[in-house]
């Protein structure tokens, strides 16, 4: 579904992303972890056909993002970190507008809008202006907007950061359901719980590079925590993440001092 090979993105003198290679199959989920400025958002924008790669290739469902970014954007649902909603529109009108942009038939989009408002418990607030919505409600609307057209690939940047635990679980269930329907997911998050819950593969990024990509078991093995630490329980993803990023920073510090 998504094939990224040697992806790099440069903004002037800033190399925001370098040599990223990942593959996400239909119905699977890749979670990207990393501190702020690690290059996760840039990676998502390149995967979504919003920004063109400076080097490397991005292919979504067989379409090269550099050759036909418009077609790639039609296949993708991107949920940015900030919801970016029109304040003076009701949620129904807002979702209808984006449904029309994605060429969803009017009758189908009306039906889907009602279904998804129901899923996210927004039916009663459907005619209120978005400006009156809470942060969590806005995030729900952004998730609905990104998935309304049934994209083949959903790219979400911190999709549940503003949601209460109950709503977050509801969102995870929804994303899992999309996966079951064959949709591929790429999620950027700082929540280890979310990563453990959703991820098939996990990518750990730092300073524009992917330090490690693989399943939980592979990352555990790679972190060396299972052999170095005498623990009764398996290390959590939080332990693995800190170990891998910590090692990377030690390497960076050694390189600088040398």
């Amino acid at each position: 579904m998504l094939e990224v090979d040697g992806l790099a993105k440069r903004y002037g003198e800033v190399l925001a992303l370098r040599d990223l290679t990942v593959r996400v199959d239909e119905g699977s989920c890749l979670v990207l972890l990393g501190r702020n400025g690690a290059g996760k958002t840039t990676a998502l924008r390149c995967m979504a056909g919003v920004l063109l790669p400076s080097a490397g290739t991005v292919t979504v469902d067989g379409v090269d993002a550099a050759d036909d970014p418009t077609a790639v954007r039609a296949k993708v649902g991107l949920m940015p970190e900030v919801p970016g909603l029109y304040e003076r529109m009701s949620v129904r009108a807002y979702l209808d507008h984006f449904g029309a942009i994605y060429d969803v038939e009017p009758a189908i989009r009306r039906q889907r809008i009602e279904e998804l408002l129901e899923v996210f418990e927004l039916t009663d607030a459907g005619d209120r202006w978005l400006g009156t919505y809470s942060k969590g409600m806005r995030q729900k609307v952004a998730l609905i907007r990104a998935t309304l057209h049934r994209p083949r690939l959903v790219l979400a940047d911190e999709p549940t950061s503003a949601l209460d635990p109950d709503s977050a679980r509801r969102a995870w269930v929804y994303l899992k359901d999309l996966q079951k329907e064959g949709c591929a997911l790429v999620i950027c998050t700082h929540s280890m719980e979310e990563a453990e819950h959703l991820a098939g593969d996990i990518g750990i990024m730092s300073a524009g590079r992917a330090l490690a990509i693989g399943s939980m078991a592979e990352l555990r093995r790679r972190s060396g925590l299972a052999t170095r630490r005498e623990v009764r329980e398996l290390p959590t993803l939080q332990d693995i993440y800190l170990a891998i990023v910590g090692n990377h920073h030690d390497e960076l510090a050694e390189t600088r001092s040398a």
Binding site: Y11, E13, V14, R45, V50, A71, G84, M89, F98, I101
Partner: protein
């Protein structure tokens, strides 16, 4: 130059949404309608009162036209507010990022937004104009339909130019506060145009307003095209990251602009197109000046004082003082031309050769070509080539200023063009000094 693909239905979707957003801000709309109605009513009533209390026909007629221009300009200036809100406001609120992540092409978003702003602004402009005409002209015995048509055409272009200007601002401003500061670069030139138009009407040369309308069409097309080229996902999203450490980036751009610039011969060759344009300015000016002088299209009384002052300045004082005065005058002209090139799209560079050519041709129309040419020989043999080089490089600065690239890099392009000009001064300044000496001792 090809126009990008555009799905009209998609552009209409964007336009409809923006239109809905614009008219949902009741306070803004109420203010706009009040001003659109209040100003025409007040201006029209004033003109009618003047006519009623015995104002001269010529004065009343001219003021009625000036009033029409002001009545249209106020709602037209609202287009800038609406456009800034539509482009910079959306960028600030991050709703533009969402729009850019959809399958919409940049051209569709751009066209939709421009269409929405134009619809609101032109409705207000023409609404105000109709109200003004209904209040002012019935019973006045004067209804200058041709001039009002010129006003209508130039209004569309004025509004389009302001909208396109707002897009260019949106590429360089991330907040509305910054955008509002930068908006003065659009409002001020537009108000100058308005004042010139008013001056022409008051001088009784309203027939020249079609020239202004044509100029506005040209400016609007150039700016709209610039806006379309610059309005790209890369420029809007990638530049957010590229704008980090602005002072360091500016210093680096300045350093790289001045490093490895070519020598004068290579520089002239590499900028041959603007050089040819600048070189063409002199004979073109001479021919047009001659025609203007011999047909009295431009009154002699207008040009004669300029020619007289030039002749006087060359013959006054002791030779050293004269040489210094001529040199300073020419150097100042060269520097002003370079500075103005950025805001005049290089037109100042063309005028550097066109204006002397025009004066020469005009003088020839007064006397003869032989006599006129003695006024510029031998100093002109040095001065004119120097003016062609300076004019060509100034045209290049203007071209760099109006060239938008989807990947950005505006400041480095302009800095590189300015660097060429500054380095060329190493040869131009001595040339001007030699020309001044020749003019004083051999002229």
């Amino acid at each position: 130059m090809s126009w990008p693909k555009l799905d009209r239905r998609k552009a209409a979707l964007v336009a409809a949404r923006d239109l809905r957003d614009a008219v949902s801000e009741l306070r803004l709309i109420a203010a706009m309608i009040a001003l659109t109605l209040a100003i025409p009513l007040a201006a029209g009533s004033g003109v009618r009162a003047l006519a009623y209390f015995g104002g001269g026909t010529a004065v009343v007629n001219r003021l009625s036209l000036v009033g029409a221009f002001f009545v249209v300009f106020i709602p037209a200036s609202f287009s800038l507010v609406l456009a800034l809100e539509s482009f910079v406001g959306e960028r600030e609120r991050t709703t533009l990022e969402v729009l850019l992540s959809t399958p919409l092409r940049e051209a569709e978003i751009y066209a939709g937004k421009v269409l929405a702003v134009l619809s609101v602004s032109l409705t207000l402009c023409y609404g105000g104009l109709i109200v003004y005409c209904l209040v002012t002209f019935p019973g006045l015995g004067y209804f200058p339909i041709v001039i009002l048509l010129a006003l209508a055409v130039s209004t569309i272009c004025q509004v389009a130019a302001m909208v396109a200007g707002a897009v260019i601002i949106s590429l360089n401003a991330r907040t509305m506060r910054a955008a509002n500061v930068m908006a003065s670069f659009i409002i001020l030139p537009m108000s100058v145009v308005l004042q010139l138009e008013a001056a022409l009407i008051l001088l009784g040369r309203a027939d020249l307003l079609w020239g202004f309308a044509l100029l506005m069409i040209l400016i609007a097309v150039v700016l709209l095209r610039m806006g379309l080229t610059g309005f790209s996902r890369e420029a809007l999203l990638a530049r957010d990251v590229g704008l980090r450490r602005p002072l360091r980036r500016a210093a680096e751009a300045l350093r790289s602009s001045f490093a490895t610039r070519p020598g004068i011969v290579r520089l002239i060759w590499s900028r041959r197109t603007p050089m040819v344009l600048a070189a063409a300015g002199f004979p073109a000016g001479a021919v047009i000046g001659y025609v203007a002088g011999s047909t009295s299209a431009v009154p002699r009384a207008v040009v004669r004082p300029v020619l007289s002052s030039l002749v006087r300045s060359a013959g006054q004082g002791n030779p050293v003082e004269s040489a210094i005065a001529i040199f300073s005058h020419n150097l100042l002209a060269f520097l002003l031309v370079a500075i103005l090139a950025i805001v005049t799209a290089g037109l100042s560079g063309f005028l550097l050769t066109f204006a002397p050519g025009f004066l020469l041709g005009f003088a020839a129309a007064f006397s003869s070509w032989g006599l006129a040419l003695t006024g510029i020989v031998p100093n002109g043999l040095v001065e004119i080539p120097a003016a062609i080089v300076a004019g060509g490089l100034a045209i290049q600065i203007g071209a760099a200023a109006i060239h938008m690239d989807a990947t950005g890099g505006w400041s480095s392009r302009v800095l590189a063009a300015v660097a060429d000009y500054v380095r060329a001064l190493r040869w131009l300044v001595p040339a001007l000094a030699v020309a001044a000496l020749l003019e004083v001792w051999l002229g």
